[in-house]
Symmetry: C2
Subunit: 421 residues, 2 copies
Amino acid sequence: MKQSDLFYKTFKKPPRDEQSTNSKFLIRGGFVDKLAAGVYTFLPLGLRVLKKIENIIREEMNAIDGQEILMPALNPGENWKKTGRWSSFEVLFKLKGRDKKDYALAPTHEEVITPLAKKFVFSYKDLPVYLYQIQNKFRNEPRAKSGLLRGREFLMKDLYSFHTSERDLDRYYEKVKKAYFNIFKRCGIGKETYLTLASGGSFSKYSHEFQTVDPEGEDNICVCQKCGLAINKGIKNENPKCPECGNNKFKDVRAIEVGNIFKLKTKYSHAFDLKFRNEKGREKEIIMGCYGVGLSRVMGAVVEVFNDKAGIIWPKNLAPFDAHILYLKSDKSSLDKKIKKACWQVYEKLGKSGLDILFDDRENVSSGEKFAESDLIGIPWRLVISERTLERGSVELKARNKENTQLVKIKDFEKIINLIK
Amino acid sequence: MKQSDLFYKTFKKPPRDEQSTNSKFLIRGGFVDKLAAGVYTFLPLGLRVLKKIENIIREEMNAIDGQEILMPALNPGENWKKTGRWSSFEVLFKLKGRDKKDYALAPTHEEVITPLAKKFVFSYKDLPVYLYQIQNKFRNEPRAKSGLLRGREFLMKDLYSFHTSERDLDRYYEKVKKAYFNIFKRCGIGKETYLTLASGGSFSKYSHEFQTVDPEGEDNICVCQKCGLAINKGIKNENPKCPECGNNKFKDVRAIEVGNIFKLKTKYSHAFDLKFRNEKGREKEIIMGCYGVGLSRVMGAVVEVFNDKAGIIWPKNLAPFDAHILYLKSDKSSLDKKIKKACWQVYEKLGKSGLDILFDDRENVSSGEKFAESDLIGIPWRLVISERTLERGSVELKARNKENTQLVKIKDFEKIINLIK
């Protein structure tokens, strides 16, 4: 895409009321715009990143037999009253319909999916079943200061599983764990993200969080220095030794919760009387699990982890474009024509090879500004074509996460493409 | 996909409280589930259809240089107060944040996109620009009885265009008209959908609606019998003659509004002081247009138009699957093995050729039930393999919208594939 056509704008300074690293960079780089505290518009650059996260998650959910559905944000209040969360869920957005009924804006969907399953699941033959959605959620947070890490409106993937036995839930739970590690690995934060033992609430001893280490994270976790399992600080006292390997040396770090998985067991099936008939024709309560990942939160976490003073450093799989071509204008008009021609040539060749390229074709922007913007936006590869590079018939390549540059002959498209791919 | 794995269930009778043809069939066929009046969950079958509509619309928007963004549903009340629509927009959902501020759930996004453009557009060089989103909208309807045709929560594509002059708006407006005709054509309702002159409200003489003829439609339109332009009944008196061709013979029909396009001109740029500097450095108000299509409403309209007593008849481009293979069990176990084997063979061959197949592999369901379900779900092609067809080494093909069946040799995959494609 030509940059002169792209709807974006970079800002030298972040807005005064933004405190988090992720939102400062994302706003400055033209990825998102802030509409209200914890409420962001995704601009073309930001939506490209979000869609890449979405596709990775969808692929991993389909790979573990998840079936995609789409539930409404607008929920009947009665469903939330049935589980008691109408009053206990502090950040629930409540509203009145003109039919005089109470409604909630869903922050999670147990209150919808459980009665849904009741209409569709009757027998052991219908189980297990795994349903997920990628959908906007709402939380009426009093203070939302962490950018995309804690939104009042945010995009989430939530998966719910339904089983005939706890054993079958356990089996699938382990499968989801693996899928989650795949997700974070593919999103570039595999190394920084720890499986973390957390409180299970009232219905299970423990749940698991996926925590991405970051000094600005809201959570405190203790990472076992031997096996790498982490424990949420909140339950650390219960576990002076690592429950996985018995080691007692931990490192305390701050982290961002990017995912969590729960064994709900019969908590919600009990509330909604969700049962199945087993092989013997006896009615039993269905066993449930739930598994969440915040898409916009992953995007924020990735920016928290991968940045330097100059801007964002996108991991390859999430970058809005594969490469950024910078055209540097020459004062000599015949030379300038040649530079432009070379830019277009490279742009088109790379595009044809399946790469997604942003081409800074702008005439009236200084080289310095172009370099600064390119670093801020953080596309993995920068390709400069200028007087200097053209003298050698070359394009200058630089990886965003490395210091060195290299000149490659323009004719050597294969080499350029292989470096970027 | 194997039908035994699909999360769905068909119902012989529609729910008592559903009145519209579209929701009766969509619920009975396991495409959607009703959560509340005008609020539906899209089940796997229904989401497949919705995603096909989404992809068609996205392609057509990108083809007219639309850039995709994603705006929040949660809108600051102050933006709506600025335009006066906080009080004048009757079906606006209003709620309170825990920050004590007023919020609205957006039924449309002029109140967000206009101040957004103000941060990003300054000069004539930044114009024109075309931004669209595919996003959930909310309307606090007192009565929602039309299924997917009038939801309280519904999926919409809204495009907004920004111009330096009315002439440029006019040029783009015509372009969008063509893109809209493409959308409805690709969705299978091209022939039934009429460009319709409608009231322009306060800011333009006329707007245009796209109306799909259907006896259950909420609107009344008059179709010019000569040129095919339609006029909304509400403004018919102003136009005794067709403004397009001068003819005065009209046919009155009921119709569903599936899209509408407006020349907003400066209505919203004025409210938010959205200006640009022209070539001479003078400040002028930006000229705007807006263009909507309801995705879930298109889905509902398609079902209204294409059905018979037995169920839905999906147009090729929107069908959840390309073909439906029915395995009909034989009592003779050796023959039954052969039937199964043939089913799997055809299923895999068609899948490899890029077709998306639903395979009714279920053992304990009667042939009669399978035929009835297949008609209800409405996939364009039905392929039956049974004792009778296997005797001739054949599969029986039937198009959902035709009466006749034909036997094709199982080995003749090419012929089967060509028929379906």
